[in-house]
């Protein structure tokens, strides 16, 4: 089944007429993603790559009742409205590619969506791919191959890097989820890892983190409590990065020492999760874990 998206995902592209929206609609269609409609207010009636465009999701759904998933390319200042439109139309999941969305907006629509049980992936994320069934995002298709590794990442391009290495190592991905790089995002590591743990097509999990926030530490906490149900391998970017701008005293009080590469690597190691030094090492470690599992 993989997770979050599959061949049953019938997609509406919000912001389909924009530069990124139209370009990636084409790529997603080439991959086989079931895109059934696009939405851009004021552009209803035209077609983009053969896909009919509507002014609103509601109109799109009246014509295509099968729509259940949204991908959003709408510019930051209109993105919040676009997300609420998708929520109101009961689309789930909602893949939010847009970057530079004000954090207050993200808190509002993510809070609302979570209460309704609607999953938002992003914002500022590359999307989700379940090879070879569907790609709902901007991830470069050719680095992914059907396989049994569940990938989840806060980074975009770094994910492709590691996915390519995994693919080259003769493995492949069940699903790869880019949860996004913003401070406030819809899904966190724990939630996605839980889904992979439940997923029959996933044998091992790769987690790609980076400095800042405490999603990695919270994952480590969860694994410490419940144990590793499937092998997990991590990579943390930013070991040599300079310390980021700090949120005054409040930032220090809230983070309580979490957020640095050291803190993350230490927590993950304590939970029994190996952390690769180079992105290229992730594939090898996963491979050896899987082989141990077979024995």
């Amino acid at each position: 089944m993989a997770i979050l998206v599959n061949e049953e995902s019938k997609v509406v592209v919000q912001g389909i007429t924009g530069r990124e929206g139209s370009f990636h609609t084409k790529l997603m269609l080439e991959y086989g993603t079931k895109i059934v409609a696009g939405v851009t207010p004021g552009k209803g009636g035209i077609k983009i790559n053969g896909i009919p465009v509507y002014d609103t999701i509601l109109e799109a759904k009246e014509e295509h009742q099968e729509i259940n998933t949204s991908i959003i390319f709408v510019p930051a200042r209109f993105a919040s409205d676009a997300v609420f439109e998708a929520i109101k139309a009961d689309l789930n999941p909602i893949v939010l590619i847009t970057e530079r969305i004000p954090v207050r907006d993200s808190m509002k629509f993510i809070g609302y969506a979570r209460e309704k049980g609607i999953r938002i992936i992003g914002p500022n994320c590359p999307g989700v791919i379940t090879p070879p069934k569907t790609k709902i995002g901007v991830l470069p298709a050719h680095v992914f191959k059907k396989g049994s590794i569940g990938m989840v990442s806060r980074s975009g391009t770094l994910t492709y890097e590691i996915a390519a290495a995994i693919t080259n190592a003769g493995l492949g991905q069940s699903t790869c989820v880019g949860i996004g790089g913003d401070p406030i995002i819809g899904m966190d590591f724990v939630e996605v890892v839980k889904m992979f743990e439940e997923d029959e097509e996933t044998d091992a999990i790769v987690v790609i983190g980076e400095i800042g926030g405490n999603l990695e530490e919270k994952l480590a906490e969860y694994i410490k409590e419940t144990g590793q149900k499937k092998p997990i391998v991590a990579y943390i970017a930013g070991r040599t990065a300079p310390p980021g701008k700090r949120m005054g005293h409040a930032g220090a009080i809230i983070s309580m020492g979490m957020g640095t590469a050291e803190s993350k690597i230490k927590s993950l190691n304590e939970a029994g999760i190996p952390v690769a030094e180079l992105p290229s090492q992730v594939a090898e470690i996963v491979k050896s874990k899987l082989e141990k599992l077979k024995k």
Partner: protein
């Protein structure tokens, strides 16, 4: 975007949060004139975008106009964390009976705003948080519910405040939230929020950080660059919207995406090199932007070689290749460059590089290792480490 203390206080006062009477001065002479007129003991505070100025000596006290002029001229010579002091805030000294702490910031994991409050404010608040976390009261604010009276009553009860002090504290805390919403703040902080001799609360310090992504909603708050502190390269990168930071090494890093850029730096370090800087071109850069980025690296005096590491997604490899080729042609500067590109339009990009005689490597490790070797090879003297 960090506001300076005097900017934050201007907003505080406008919204009804009591602050000490003060004056912004750009020279010791201005300080002297103001204190003479005021005729009261003052505190003189350097205006810098950093926390903990007190510990760094950026805050001084004076009893008379002459003394004020003297300490101010010391302050104007000061440089803290590469920031020069160019203006000071002169304020009537507050008769502090007790130092409280109050802030609102964002709790990323909870996806909510959070109040942090303590009756033991002052310069040691971070230590207190570490040693006695129970002395800091945390209350989350769901943006769907917003702040309600019960949240504020809970805080003042936890802090053991009563009567006027509790009432004033709740009022200020309520205004903090209003500010947070009105100005899209990532942080609103006062440390100390003091109780003065008359039992009234007053924001002795004030800090605000505005969410950069929200600035389109706040046209009146113009983007601050703290220009005097930036190198010309940093300025140029900022104007171009790149994420660029100067470091101590010799290899310029260009990559797309924060994660990949950091991983590229980590790799260079692992292979024994040192990044001179990092430059994240972001997603979907056009050839024009790539050209600007490469130009900047090639012209940078500290940069002895450049690693370009691109994973195409939104970013298209052909655009990157075109920008790179143009920059090399235009500048005519011959520094070693190692390129690695993969993903969207990879073949088209590689074709452009081949046609223009620029070689590329297949993996990030290879590219990182190669640039370290190349840079060390051309280094005069002992590259060491």
């Amino acid at each position: 975007m960090k506001l300076l203390e005097h900017e934050s206080k201007e907003i505080f006062k406008r919204e009804g949060i009591p602050c000490p009477k003060g004056f912004l001065a750009f020279s010791p002479l201005e300080v002297k004139k103001y204190v003479k007129k005021l005729n009261k003991p003052v505190v003189i505070k350097s205006q810098l975008p950093i926390a903990s100025r007190m510990k760094a000596g950026g805050i001084k006290f004076a009893e008379t106009a002459e003394e004020a002029e003297k300490v101010a001229s010391e302050l104007f010579k000061l440089k803290i964390n590469k920031f020069k002091v160019s203006k000071v805030l002169v304020e009537e000294k507050v008769d502090i009976k007790k130092e409280l702490y109050l802030s609102i910031t964002i709790d990323r994991y909870e996806r909510k705003y959070v109040y942090l409050a303590s009756t033991q404010g002052g310069i040691d608040i971070e230590n207190l948080a570490k040693m006695h976390p129970e002395k800091i009261c945390k209350v989350h604010v769901d943006p769907q519910i917003e702040v309600k009276p019960f949240d504020l009553i809970y805080i003042t009860n936890k802090l053991g405040l009563t009567g006027t002090e509790a009432r004033q504290f709740r009022e200020i805390a309520g205004l903090f939230y209003d500010l947070t919403v009105k100005y899209d703040c990532e942080l609103v902080e006062s440390n100390p929020l003091a109780i003065n001799g008359k039992g009234n609360l007053i924001a002795v310090d004030a800090r605000m950080i505005i969410d950069d992504n929200s600035l389109f909603r706040h046209p009146k708050l113009k983007k601050k660059l703290f220009e005097e502190e930036l190198t010309s390269f940093e300025l140029k990168a900022m104007e171009s919207g790149f994420s660029f930071v100067e470091l101590d090494g010799e290899i310029g890093v260009i990559a797309n995406g924060a994660g990949l850029t950091m991983a590229s730096m980590d790799s260079i370090s692992l292979f024994g090199g040192k990044p001179a800087n990092f430059l994240d071109i972001g997603g979907g850069a056009t050839s024009e932007r790539v050209k600007t980025a490469v130009n900047l690296q090639l012209k940078h005096p500290k940069v002895k070689g450049v690693l370009i590491n691109i994973m195409g997604g939104i970013t298209r490899c052909d655009e990157v290749a075109r920008g790179l080729v143009e920059a090399v042609k235009e500048t005519g500067i011959k520094k070693p460059i190692t390129v690695r590109m993969m993903g969207t339009r990879e073949e088209e990009g590689k074709e452009i590089l081949r046609k223009n005689g620029i070689s590329y490597l297949e993996t990030m490790d290879e590219a990182a290792e190669e640039i370290v070797k190349l840079v060390k090879g051309i280094k005069i003297g002992n590259p060491c480490k």
